[in-house]
């Protein structure tokens, strides 16, 4: 039976929830608004909310001055590359753990999870040193590998929880009907696994995009992604609120949009299937 609620109560809930939601979202909204102001309007006192002369000049300045395109490209390559590489390695692993489990599967999964708990700062110097020795410092390839490795446990876990939901009976039925292994994988498993693989990709792209320890410590110029691009604004230079806002908006917009699609997967991916 559905809970019957008086419309007055619903009205109060709505008002309260919207107020809190807008309050939490406000810093992002304010950043987006400020990015369309002139520098003078950005620090005007009292602050101007909407009644300013909308301008896109900040976007032009930021793109021109700081080679935004290169940072964006690096972010896309690092986040995208590490996600794809991670999937190539994780799909077979998760697949075999879900469909041919052994008594060790649980321990392997938990051990993988434990590698994710290793504090980055504890292994910073060894990685730094290895990167120098291998000539990987400030290279996209190096970051793709590191980003893949730190997210690999999450990718394996997420895929594992999705694959496990595929009923084995369907496979058995297909086998009875004489499907070969290739047909089984291609026509039965893959279509059923695509949604899970897609959401795993999405979440890991987001996590890699926002990662800000290794990207700040292992890059300088060539491979620096958007996290480092924004960090370069930490030393202020004259009036820069509007430019900072424009740069920030450009750095977060793609992920905000992707993120909205991945709310449900977020819970599963970040709690390792413990909350669904």
């Amino acid at each position: 039976m559905a809970r019957s609620v008086s419309s007055r109560r619903k009205l109060i809930n709505t008002g309260l929830a919207w107020a809190i939601g807008l309050l939490i979202f406000f810093p992002i909204l304010w950043t987006i608004l400020t990015s369309f102001k002139t520098e003078a309007q950005a620090i005007a006192s009292p602050p101007i909310f909407l009644a300013f002369d909308w301008t896109t000049e900040n976007y032009g300045i930021v793109m021109e001055r700081s080679d935004y395109g290169r940072f964006l490209m690096n972010s896309i390559i690092i986040a995208g590359g590490s996600t794809i590489l991670g999937l190539i390695i994780a799909v077979p692993a998760a697949w075999s753990m879900a469909f041919v489990p052994s008594h060790r599967t649980k321990n392997i999964l938990l051990w993988m999870l434990s590698t994710k708990m290793l504090p980055a700062v504890g292994v910073l110097y060894p990685i730094y040193l290895l990167f120098i020795q291998l000539g990987l410092l400030d290279s996209r390839a190096g970051l793709v590998v590191v980003m893949m490795l730190i997210n690999l446990p999450i990718i394996v876990w997420m895929l594992y929880t999705y694959f496990r939901e595929i009923p084995v009976e369907i496979l058995e039925a297909a086998r009875m009907d004489g499907a070969t292994l290739k047909e089984e994988v291609l026509y039965i498993l893959t279509p059923m696994a695509v949604p899970g693989i897609a959401s795993t990709m999405l979440l890991n792209f987001i996590l890699a995009w926002n990662e800000a320890f290794w990207t700040l410590n292992l890059t300088a110029v060539n491979a620096a992604p958007l996290t480092a691009f924004i960090a370069s604004y930490s030393s202020p230079e004259g009036l820069f609120f509007a430019k900072l806002s424009a740069a920030s908006t450009m750095a977060i917009a793609p992920i905000l949009i992707l993120g909205w699609f991945s709310q449900k997967q977020l819970v599963r991916g970040l709690t390792f299937g413990a909350v669904k």
Binding site: S102, L118, P126, L152, N210, A212, I230
Partner: protein
Amino acid sequence: MATKASRSAARLMMAPAVILLLGWMLVPLIMTLWFSFRTYLPLRGGDQGWTGFDNYVRFVSSSAFWPAVQTTLIIVLGVLVITVCLGILLAILLDQPMWGQGIVRILVIAPFFVMPTVSALVWKNMFMDPVNGLLAHLWRFFGAEPVSWLSDASLQSIIMIVSWQWLPFATLILLTAIQSLDSEQLEAAEMDGAPVLKRFFYIILPHLSRAITIVLLIQTIFLLAIFAEIFVTTGGAFGTRTLSYLIFQRVLESQNVGLGSAGGVYAIILANIVAIFLMRIVGKNLDN
């Protein structure tokens, strides 16, 4: 049914992931352990040999150590208390029937998708700047003296910024947990005349206990390692140097790798203590 052939195929399919993660874990870990027992100053004479537990003793006895531990605890506990308490309330609110629930959910979750360097810089400049920040405007509007947030209330400011980033995570997970609560149980309690607070403490809170534990553990692991938020706001000044940040400074800024590595080993041990509890819960969940 698994045959012998499919078992060995399965092992082969698992091998790349296992070998890579094993290497990723063991190689740097062994190197960190090795460095932690040596006097190693890359810019001042390089590796000067074995020192036993010297670095471990020096790291703990340095004047920066206990303040860093204290700072770490304050930030982690502060953020945990704020995000879990507000997260529970917000999750209950979002679970109620309302108009535009989907949009409100998106608004609440959005901060989680903002990269840490952006949220730290936006808060630092556009909100916490003592002259032009929005909070300064607000303070002046009410006739109060604007606060230099990041120097005079540095810890509170960092806690505020990090809580804003992590509240969505706590809310989302607790909301997912609340939605699995049997609503008939709540209705029955309501009909029996159980007051709101009783329903909260005897039905909702116990139901959420596992989700709360998971939020606490996962957040603790991530919060012990926060870096960018401190890097771009205070750079570890004004009493915001956490244990992780102290290790970072020892290793990369003062290039004392031996000392920093000893600190790193402490951090690894600390994280593992938290991790063990998390693994237990996750492991139990795997069984059923």
